[in-house]
Amino acid sequence: MADARGRVERVALPNGAVVLVVVDATVPTFAATLTVEAGSRYDPVGRSGLASLASSLLVEGEGAGEIAFRFEPLGASVDVATGYETTTLGAVGLGEHCADAVGLLAEMIRFRSPAVSIIRDARRRQLTEIAEEDNEPSLVCRREFFRLVFGGHPRGLPVEGDAVSLGRISRADVSEFMDTRWSPAGAVLAVSGDVEAPRVIDAACRAMESWKASDAAVSSVTPPPPRAFTGRRFVEMEREQAHVSLGGIGIARSDPLYHAAAVMDVILGDSAGFGSRLATRVREEEGLAYVIESDTAGTAGIDPGLFWAYTAASPDHVEQAVAGIVDEMRKMRSEPPTSHELESAVAYLSGRHALDRETNDARAAALVRMERYGLGLDYGDRYASLVRAVTRGDVLALARRVIDPDDYSIVAVGPASTGLFD
């Protein structure tokens, strides 16, 4: 086998930022991501949506938005994404433009003092996007499930906020968030592609060396509740299908059973593999639903995520589909998976790990995760052995921790005839 990829170059800057570069000259392209610890986890009480609103200013309107416009004549594009933990600026383009692009990303993240009018326009766009999501039963189901499990903690609130919380956010709130959270401390710039590593590292270091952390105090983060708020919630929406999420609190990324969770996901309900227990039963054997999945590892992060299962089915099918899910949850925690299931899941994860890193974008994102979660830059090489070390007992122990078929939270969104909680 040939491998065009070089080793990962890592440079730690005095201001706390880290630069990671890996060369891959297969195709003349690059991907670069600049990640800061500025997700909705850090939204102040009553100001949910602040992290998301602030980040949207990076690519819209005057100021940072104008910087973004300098990308496009190069054929490159830049985007921003805010999640629970982080805000990430990402750029993709042809490798020859990479050094310029990392300089622009570093310039953008230091944008401050947005005009009131830009905040107003961005808030309006965000409110329309929320209105669109309010009309999507699958998204409403997801949002309400997080809210039910995590209560009023930022983990339970939508990243984009809501009409009330966005209405409270002032220009001062946005400026303070930018000053305190868009900090080089913990920032990671990761690059993968057909680039000259020394040139990109030099450009990144020069662009970021004058980026200083604010003197303002960073507010502390309250950890999420240790136990889920169990209960049930029904949201009526006149639609063809009922959407159901059920489960409870999962595990953190640092949990020793994280890789057991990845294995259990494949066996029970990974959406990528139709051969999971849930898909085999609910979709292939009973024909009740098109979408049926469960996940634990996907939401594991700094804080514990969820164990949850999701399906969408006609109101006259949904009760049987949910009964099937709960029955499979019970089996998952009553006895360990078979050796065959374990071996298959381990082989799948090992192979998939390599397949999922075929693009520059995916490799850059993987580098960021390795750095942020302290996995080590050789994590990709060690991954297969880590999942191979998972035992049937580990999967059972994990299932018994996160799955409780007699005490779970459940949200259903659908027509009045859903009848799930009658």
Partner: protein, 416 residues
Amino acid sequence: MSRVPTPIEVTLPNGLVVLVLRRDHAPIVATTLLYGAGSLHEPDGHTGLAHLMEHMMFRGTPAYPQGEIDSLTGRLGGVNNAVTTTDYAAYYFVLPSEHWRVPLEIEADRMAACPIDVESFETERRVALEERKMFQDDPEAMLDETVDRLALERHPYRHPVVGLREDIERMTFGDLRAFYESHYVPNNAVLAVAGDIDEDQVVAEAGRLFGTIEAGALAPIPSHAEPPQTSPRHAEIQHGAAPPQAVLAYHTPSATHDDAPAVELLATLLGVGRTCRLYKRFVAGDGVASEISATRLFQKEPGLFYIAGTLHPGADLEQFEGDVMRVLEELAREPVPRDELAKATEQIRTDHELGRETCLGLAGALAFWETLGGWQLEREFETGLANVTGEDVARVVETYFAPDTRSVAWLTPVDE
């Protein structure tokens, strides 16, 4: 200059085209087997047949009982799936390259004999109906369906690929069997393989595995010439509490038409990035829209070009429609400045290169262009793109975007 890579190309005596491309950046192989079996090929009144056939192809074969195709793929550390479009059904695998033979064996087996049984058919019909309901709950999907039906009076592109509920319910086991036998034949398929493989070995193995499958009698594609549209058409649907949305559809030529590169460039000038014309006009600053797009589908036959916008609540859809037409009029009147054209060309070039980062991207593109007439057409298309002038863009706008040929669908919230 186009960077489309050159594969090894072999046509087996039974008509199967095999394209093989070595890419050794990583120990990965991707295969795409593409059949000319999309919604375009469905008999009248049988929408959803091509899509349901795709579901059935995962229901097992003599050598791979139900569940085994997915299970084996997973055990080997790979993924597989399929997609049905208006023009084709494509089946793909991505695996560690040491297992390159496996997808060929599976595909040959299910091309030779997909033992469709009545019980599996009924189960998959129920699943397909659930998928149809999922679409019905999606306001954007319903808006797209509405504008397709409005703009196209005869052509099968007017039907949703997933099928209409009543057609899925009416479909018989015999319909499915007949569709399989007349479309899932080697002379209606293209196999593309890209990855860390030995090309000669792959070609030889493809010949061994597929060579014994007999060519079939292909059902002719019925002629569905769409009559010219001479006056604007309008429709309005209501769906939940969604913000107002509008889609304008115009008739544009097929992917292989001489004007296709200029139309593609137009889509980029209008709708890609934050410096494109529609974003600057409708979204930036205090614009009326939160999102806007311009989309041209690469299709075998003449189809539609869509301009779609999601407006802020309370915005005037009629005003938006008029303003979009004014943007188009300006493009017809004044040739696009050279730097704007260069930007759009560079954006497309970058996009194509990004698509070549994966083995699946390479295999998929080879198979797709081959079904349009030859994998080399992508090269011609890229060369054509590089030669498009501002005058060309103005000409295609004038030719294909006359106000009277538009079809417009609005989405408004359900009345309180």
